[in-house]
Subunit: 98 residues, 2 copies
C-alpha cells in the first residue's frame, strides 16, 4: 500500500465551498480500482491549507488507473479551481509505525 | 483527534541511519499521554524526504504534554540532527473521510 500526499492551498474565502465540493467528489476517487481510503484534514495554523492523504493498493492505481480514468476529469473540474498554487502531489511508502 | 504533520528532509546519505534512529525513538513518543499512532513514510519521488504523521487525542497532548516532557529532549537528541532544513510542524483536524 502507498500514500498519495498533497498539501492543498485553497484560495482564501473559498474553504467551505471546497469542503462541500470534496464531500461530493470523494465518491469519484473512492470508486477507482485500488482505492483504499481518503482523508482530508484542515490545518489549524493555516486554515486555508488542507492535507490530502489517499491510500492506494499500488502506485499505478493512482498514477495510471485513476489519472487515466474518465472520473479524473470530473475530479479535476470539481476541485482543481480551488487551488492556488497548484499542489505538489507525491507518493510515500510505509517505513515505521507505532 | 488531531494529526501532527511534518515533511522531514533528511541529509542525503543518512536516510538508513535516520530510519534506525526513528525505530528506536518511536517508543518515546508512543509513551506520551494522548498519543494515538505514528506513521513515518518515505517519499518515492524524493527518497531523502519522509512524511511524519502522529495522531494525538488533543492538540495540547503534543504542543504542551510531549514538547514539555523530559522524553522530548531524548527525541530531539535522537532525531533532530538528521534534518536539513529543520521541518515545519503543523496540526490538522479531520474534515472529510472516505
Amino acid at each position: 500500500m502507498i500514500t498519495e500526499h498533497a498539501l492543498l492551498d485553497v484560495i482564501p474565502g473559498r474553504e467551505q465551498e471546497f469542503v462541500e465540493s470534496m464531500e461530493r467528489a470523494k465518491a469519484i476517487v473512492a470508486a477507482s480500482p485500488g482505492f483504499v481510503s481518503l482523508r482530508v484534514e484542515r490545518c489549524m495554523e493555516r486554515p486555508s491549507c488542507f492535507l490530502l492523504l489517499v491510500e492506494w493498493e499500488r502506485l499505478e492505481d493512482h498514477t495510471e488507473g485513476f489519472r487515466g480514468s474518465p472520473g479524473y476529469q470530473d475530479w479535476r473540474v470539481a476541485l482543481h479551481h480551488f487551488y492556488d498554487p497548484f499542489p505538489v502531489v507525491e507518493h510515500f511508502e510505509p517505513i515505521v509505525t507505532a
